[in-house]
Each structure stands twice: as structure tokens, then as C-alpha cells.
Symmetry: C2
Subunit: 111 residues, 2 copies
């Protein structure tokens, strides 16, 4: 189940795909628009979009000869939930533990 999340993360994390995702955050775009914005070769953009689509990160809609890509909210929501679920729960405790560990620095009693 985390397989999916990890895979989506790795697809989004690639630098050029991350830029594409950032672009799409402000709304759906055609391939050509993305090419113009990022100054990447069109075949490269198409390939990155293919990977994003396969991972379920984006959706495609045909409009005449153009294909409009848009971000699907669900994957980002899942990533957000995954990330927040740690941060929120542990922030306090870890900060305290951090201080504790930093102060002690040696004190052998672990298994």
C-alpha cells in the first residue's frame, strides 16, 4: 500500500517532472504550453507526462489535436496526509527527545 505512495513520490521527485507538477498546480495545461514554459524538447515533455500519467499523478483530456494535462488531487492529498501524519504527531515529543539526546550525548542503556 505504501508501494504506491513511494512510486508516486519517486515519479514526482524527478527534477523536470517536479517542475511540470509545479506548473500544473496553477491549472491544466497543454503539452505545448508546458514545452514553452520549461524550454524542454517536446518529446521529453511527452515522456515525462506519460510517466506522470501512468503513476496516476495527472489526467489527460483530448481537445482537438491538443492534450490537456491536469493534476489529480488524490495523489497529492495522499502524500500530504502521509507527511503530516508524522510531523503533527511527533513534533513535540521529538523536539524534547532531541534536547535530551543532545545533552546526554553518552549514556549506554539500549538493547
Amino acid at each position: 500500500m505504501d508501494e504506491l505512495l513511494q512510486h508516486r513520490l519517486s515519479v514526482i521527485a524527478e527534477p523536470n517532472r517536479f517542475r511540470i507538477v509545479e506548473l500544473l498546480r496553477s491549472g491544466p495545461l497543454s503539452v505545448g504550453a508546458i514545452v514553452d514554459a520549461l524550454e524542454l524538447a517536446q518529446p521529453h515533455v511527452s515522456r515525462h507526462l506519460r510517466l506522470l500519467a501512468d503513476a496516476g499523478v495527472v489526467d489527460v483530456t483530448r481537445q482537438a489535436q491538443q492534450r490537456i494535462y491536469r493534476l489529480r488531487p488524490e495523489p497529492l492529498r495522499d502524500i500530504g496526509t502521509w507527511a503530516q501524519s508524522f510531523a503533527v504527531l511527533w513534533t513535540e515529543r521529538l523536539d524534547r527527545l532531541g534536547d535530551f539526546l543532545d545533552d546526554t550525548d553518552q549514556n549506554g542503556d539500549r538493547s
Copy 2:
């Protein structure tokens, strides 16, 4: 500024490092404990931890010969915020736009 986020994402997204992060979500661990849990070679775990530490995703504390690694909440919080900020804002609008585009399917009026 998104450079940092993208870099952290790519570091976390690697399969084995993702497993390490997942492990650390339940609390700090020594290198040896991670090696036992994941059945990876110790040098590999050390190397992955190094990359995670360089990216600021984890913290190290020495305890005798052991090094205790723990997740830093801030990077995960940032990732969560980044992801949620899209999902929350656009979910409704995009769903409606999606229906619209799916229905029309052709309708040329772009520049």
C-alpha cells in the same frame, strides 16, 4: 526554494530510503537496528542514512559506539504543506473542470 523540497523528495523517494523513513516514523533507531529490520548490508544503510542526513531529513546523535538516527519533523511538515496546499484548494474546482472536459471532449478555443 522549491529546489530544497524537490531534493528532499527525491532523497526520500528512493525505495530503500523510503523504508528507512517509514521505520523511523515510529521512533529513533540505531544503524544496527535498521540493518536488522531491513536486511540490507550495513554499509548500504550507512550510505542511505548519510544521504538522508545531508538532505536534512534525519538527525544523528552519538551514543557510545552507536549512532542514533531520528526523523526531523520539519522536512515532512514542509512536504505535507506543499502537497496539501494544492489538494485542498483545487479538489472541487478540478473535479468540476474534469467533468466539463470529459463531457465536451472537443471544443477548440485556445490561442
